[in-house]
């Protein structure tokens, strides 16, 4: 397997999170769907993210049946598929991004079937070669680690696990066992973009997870505004925003649903607000 980016994979994620920590702040992790609504617009959006303040990028792999996503991200995936997005094009988008930015980690997020059909070995090789650093696959719990998690770690990619409000202390060690990069705490029981979390409970949950791992903990699902971001940044190592950005993509499309130069700028404007929120947050915990 070729690995042209020797600093890529888990190492690139670790380096970026360590840099944020050295600045005494949480990282801003932004999610957009690859190919939404077309390849060129999506590439422009992704390329605008780091300059606007995104520290890590989650890139959604479109899937017809995203069972953990709310209407906004479902619609983004369908727009991308209608625009001709495929797994090959998603990896190509990452490779194009990497020609200009070798420092910002990219994490592919999605569902297992498109990876399974692409072929796990082929996918891991091509993803690493394209400059992908980590994977979040919603429908692969620890019970199915042999499918992709273990081969991904072997290939030098971080397999980032979701911990949820239903993951109790007895189960946490299994969830954390093979995770790398960071732990993604899902702040609500629910789908993406559906509810605003109880931030008091989120703080307690992050502390609970930190009692089990030295990995950074990022929090997502339901973080929409700069104020939310600041609140979460006070207790967590990373703040994930997705639905609000995907909605911004949609809002910046023209009457025919096509992207334009304004699309990337519309998303970047929100990312700047969120980044200001993250950077302005007072660190309240002992993390």
């Amino acid at each position: 397997m070729s690995a042209p980016h020797k600093s890529g994979g888990v190492a690139r994620i670790d380096a970026r999170l360590a840099a944020c920590q050295a600045e005494g702040r949480a990282a801003l992790i932004t999610f957009v769907t690859a190919g939404d609504p077309d390849f060129d617009t999506s590439l422009a959006v992704v390329e605008a993210l780091p300059g606007a303040g995104a520290d890590l990028i989650e890139l959604g792999m479109p899937f017809t049946d995203p069972m953990a996503d709310g209407p906004a991200i479902q619609a983004a995936g369908l727009r991308a598929l209608a625009g001709g997005q495929t797994m090959v094009r998603t990896l190509e988008l990452v490779a194009r991004f990497r020609t200009r930015d070798t420092a910002t980690p990219i994490i592919l997020m999605g569902y297992y079937n498109p990876i399974y059909i692409y072929g796990v070995e082929r996918f891991l090789g091509d993803a690493r070669a394209a400059g992908v650093d980590g994977l979040i696959v919603v429908d692969l719990p620890p019970e199915e680690d042999a499918e992709l998690c273990l081969p991904a770690l072997e290939a030098g990619l971080a397999f980032i696990r979701l911990a949820t409000p239903t993951t109790d202390d007895a189960r946490l060690p299994a969830v954390l066992a093979n995770t790398a990069g960071f732990v993604y705490y899902v702040s609500i029981t629910g789908i993406t973009g559906s509810a605003t979390p109880d931030f008091g409970k989120v703080t307690a949950a992050v502390q609970r997870i930190k009692g089990h791992t030295r990995l950074p903990v990022a929090v997502g699902f339901g973080v929409r505004t700069a104020a939310h971001a600041a609140t979460v940044a006070a207790c967590a190592d990373g703040v994930v925003v997705g639905t609000a950005l995907v909605e911004r993509v949609k809002a910046a499309l023209d009457a025919e649903g096509c992207g334009s130069a304004a699309t990337a700028e519309g998303v970047a404007a929100l990312v700047r607000e969120l980044a200001a929120g993250v950077r302005g947050a007072a660190k309240s915990d002992a993390a």
């Binding site: 017809t64 049946d65 069972m67 953990a68 079937n113 692409y118 719990p141 199915e144 949820t164 029981t189």
Partner: protein, 428 residues
């Protein structure tokens, strides 16, 4: 022992190790060979493990079985009869004679359409509702295609005083209006699902989204032998009463086991319920019938085994209809209950090991069989089992007269009458 079935239809493909029993699955990871598993979001995993524990305890509890048996007898109306379809048998024997043959199998119908609520679905729903009660869950959600599972779920929620939310694709709401009214009369909230292809797979997506949101209070009553482990096992076990009764009834009627079994397959719960108790009976040939829609070659069908390949969706690995990039494609069938781009994982495995032969029937063949059975036997079948009847019509005349064939008549066709009337116009 080995079963006297044909080997895998894959021909030159390697045949997996032949098990000592075809009834021992799944393994502790919920796998039937390659298939099955627990491909769900972390939020659901703790509950799925709790469900597995609760089901294990219930299965070992004689009080659970006793209560279930009581409801099956007095509320569902079991056992359902095994009925000798004399005029259908004679009709097909005449066809055989007209073609110069002397055969024509003796056809029995397992009358699951006589159950309360009109289909086999109630067998499984009763079991799952009793499990939900054991687990202290007060809110029940379910997906439904034809509406039969939704009606059964709404019925038992009314019976036990539980809140009930049914997810149903908006397309299916249109074509199965009688069942939508029934569910609402029974006190269920019916949510028309507008996402994706607006049929059964999308109803299942939205049910999973509800479950992940309301995981603490809600029991997801899955209607078929699919989904994450342990659902395929739970549903199979509750439906296996169909096969157990059939065995006893055939021994009573004919003094021996049937020679063949045949059932329609969407997810495959009525088929698995009939098949499972017979899987280790080497003399019994077993046929599943998928929905071929406009024909498997047309691309507009719901035949996952004939026209799909292994992938992962809705918590399990199984045969799925998809494009080359792993995107799930829309199924098509005249029958809302078969209009699903997947099949239960145990069926996928039984196909690969060659124990069950999977056939298909088109919309047109099912419609013809629907009318034939109605005219010959005075039994209006649902469009789902009409697919099985369609293959019987073709296969039975070629078999000897002493061949005993059991068809699972999994549901009644009242719900389909408006749709069929639309299609046939004045031709009925």
């Amino acid at each position: 022992m080995t079963a006297n079935t044909k080997l895998s239809s894959a021909g030159s493909a390697p045949v997996p190790d032949r098990p000592n029993s075809f009834r021992s699955g799944p393994d502790e990871r919920g796998r039937f060979g390659l298939y099955g598993g627990r491909f769900v979001a972390e939020t659901l995993m703790p509950l799925i493990l709790e469900l597995e524990r609760a089901y294990g305890e219930a299965r070992a509890d004689p009080a659970f079985k006793a209560e279930m048996d009581g409801h099956l007898a007095s509320y569902v109306g079991r056992p359902s009869p095994l009925y000798y379809a004399e005029r259908l048998t004679e009709h097909l024997r005449r066809q055989a004679a007209d073609a110069g043959g002397s055969g024509g199998a003796k056809i029995y119908l397992k009358r699951e359409e006589l159950n309360h609520t009109g289909s086999h679905k109630v067998n499984n729903v009763l079991g799952q509702i009793m499990l939900a009660r054991r687990m202290g869950k007060k809110r029940i959600i379910a997906e439904t295609g034809a509406g039969q599972h939704g009606v059964a779920t709404a019925t038992l929620c009314a019976r036990f005083g539980l809140d009930c939310v049914i997810y149903m694709g908006a397309v299916d709401v249109e074509r199965q209006m009688p069942n939508v009214f029934r569910m609402r009369m029974l006190g269920a909230e019916v949510v028309p699902v507008q996402s994706g292809s607006r049929t059964l797979k999308d109803a299942m997506n939205d049910a999973l989204r509800d479950w992940v949101t309301n995981v603490d209070t809600t029991f997801y009553c899955i209607g078929t032998v699919a989904g994450p482990h342990p659902y395929p096992t739970i549903v199979r076990d509750f439906q296996s009463i169909i096969g157990h009764e059939t065995r006893a009834q055939m021994l009573e009627a004919e003094g021996r086991l049937p020679d063949s079994l045949i059932a329609c397959i969407g997810g495959g719960s009525n088929a698995m319920g009939l098949f499972h108790p017979f899987l280790d009976e080497a003399s019994v040939k077993i046929y599943g019938v998928e929905a071929a829609g406009h024909g498997v070659a047309s691309g507009a069908h719901a035949a996952s085994i004939a026209g799909g390949r292994p992938g992962v969706l809705h918590g399990n690995r199984t045969y799925l209809l998809m494009d080359g990039d792993g995107q799930i494609t829309e199924a098509h069938s005249i029958s809302a209950g078969l209009d699903y781009p997947g099949i239960g994982p145990e069926h996928a495995w039984l196909n690969d090991v060659g124990r069950v032969t999977y056939l298909s029937a088109t919309d047109e063949e099912a419609l013809a069989a629907f009318q034939l059975l109605t005219r010959l036997e005075g039994i209006i079948p649902a469009l789902e089992p009409a697919h099985a009847i369609a293959r019987v019509v073709e296969v039975a005349p070629q078999l000897p007269r002493e061949h005993l064939m059991v068809v699972n008549l999994s549901g009644r066709g009242d719900k389909d009458v408006p749709q069929v009337a639309d299609i046939l116009g004045g031709r009925a």
